[in-house]
Subunit: 272 residues, 2 copies
Amino acid sequence: MSVYFNDQFVNNEEALLHVSDLSIQRGYAIFDFFRTVNGVPLFMEDHLDRFYASATAMHLTISKSREEIRNIVQELLQRSSLSEAGIRLMLTGGYSTDSYHPAASNLLITCNPVKTATANDFEKGFSVITYEHQRQLPHVKSINYLMAVWLQPLLKEKQADDMLYYNNESITEFPRSNVFIVTADNKLVTPAHNILYGITRKNIIKLAADIMPVEERNIPVEELLTASEIFLTATTKKIIPVIKINDQPIGNSRPGPVTAKLFERFLELEKV
Amino acid sequence: MSVYFNDQFVNNEEALLHVSDLSIQRGYAIFDFFRTVNGVPLFMEDHLDRFYASATAMHLTISKSREEIRNIVQELLQRSSLSEAGIRLMLTGGYSTDSYHPAASNLLITCNPVKTATANDFEKGFSVITYEHQRQLPHVKSINYLMAVWLQPLLKEKQADDMLYYNNESITEFPRSNVFIVTADNKLVTPAHNILYGITRKNIIKLAADIMPVEERNIPVEELLTASEIFLTATTKKIIPVIKINDQPIGNSRPGPVTAKLFERFLELEKV
């Protein structure tokens, strides 16, 4: 598998960073991730928007133009011959001379086989727990997943599939997914603030617009208990119903009708 | 310069991690750092204690015993011929197969020339700003310095040397240093909770014990303004007086007598 590393294509085994890179020294780096359907990148422009915005927010510079990145992605896809690939754009703080201040960023673009959620994953749904935590610089897709990785043993212990973060008594997001609820009065609601703005989230908001009222606003933790449906959205997970929160069943522990309808529409969207 | 990388000594240029390492993918790694004085490691056992404790807290395993690490450090020091060296112990989340769950950790130990604070740095002191932030898993010396690195442009703009974090209206620590204040009633006080327990901090608490009462407790932000002296402690900075906070002078903008006394005692301690 080829990897694009700064100015060249290298073999995967050669995608190596020196330990002085600020990603390794101080966890300072950003990334973005999208996938292809039948060899065609899905929502790539949205992901590029976010990648450049993350870089700017982190005071980092991407040495390539969007057009150059599009071409690199095409080249990686051709070399890989994958029809369903995951493309990861990575930009680090670079080889810092003092282990603290950023230097010229290292840019890496990888292309690997990707496993997306299946109809079976959708039917099964997710059992989740809530956890009080606020991601730092939430609008930025940084590599800071310290809490998410650290909490994996807790998830296992609780036999949960993921944790829904909350902060100041409002829910925000999952470590790698956004959250939506269908309220008691039949509105689709998703948190507005302190989150990473997901590309799937954006598409779901659009797709739902002619089905029901959609609101972006604070969602108090206790509102989860009166929700008729809850689901999460992410690039590889697409839409996954949340059927249990902290051992409390949601709806009738089955994917709800709104979730199913949006899933159907989303699958149509990604075919185009 | 040699680097110890898993089971061997390699040249610095060969200290390379594959991008699949969880430090690069998810900022998941720990480290510790100590220095030598005349070729002798300073407070190494304390740093090893903390390194092993950080690993345990992060569910990571160090594949070497303390005795093995001591021997590796000695070998690196001999190879480097440095009398004043900085030793960095690094342990990462390893080459993750799914970019999310830890694998066998990579262990790296580097030995480089180190610049410590001078008598002139002590005389000059630090001008600092306060900033509301709480480090995640504060007792763990993880590589998560996202906010610290991100805030560097703000420091520059404010012409400040460092930022003192506070949370819930109490001060905690600097990104890489602990804080002490001499109170209006002549006690030495340092925050007790939500901090990384520095090795220099520990030594200062001991050294101060026969000079004045020492307390570890919460310090409200407003107590900074009534402090007669403030200083920070860290491995390479040793002790640096804080002479200004948010443009407010502390003491008479000069190192205070308690700070000077402790600095003198600390310099004696590191000679032994």
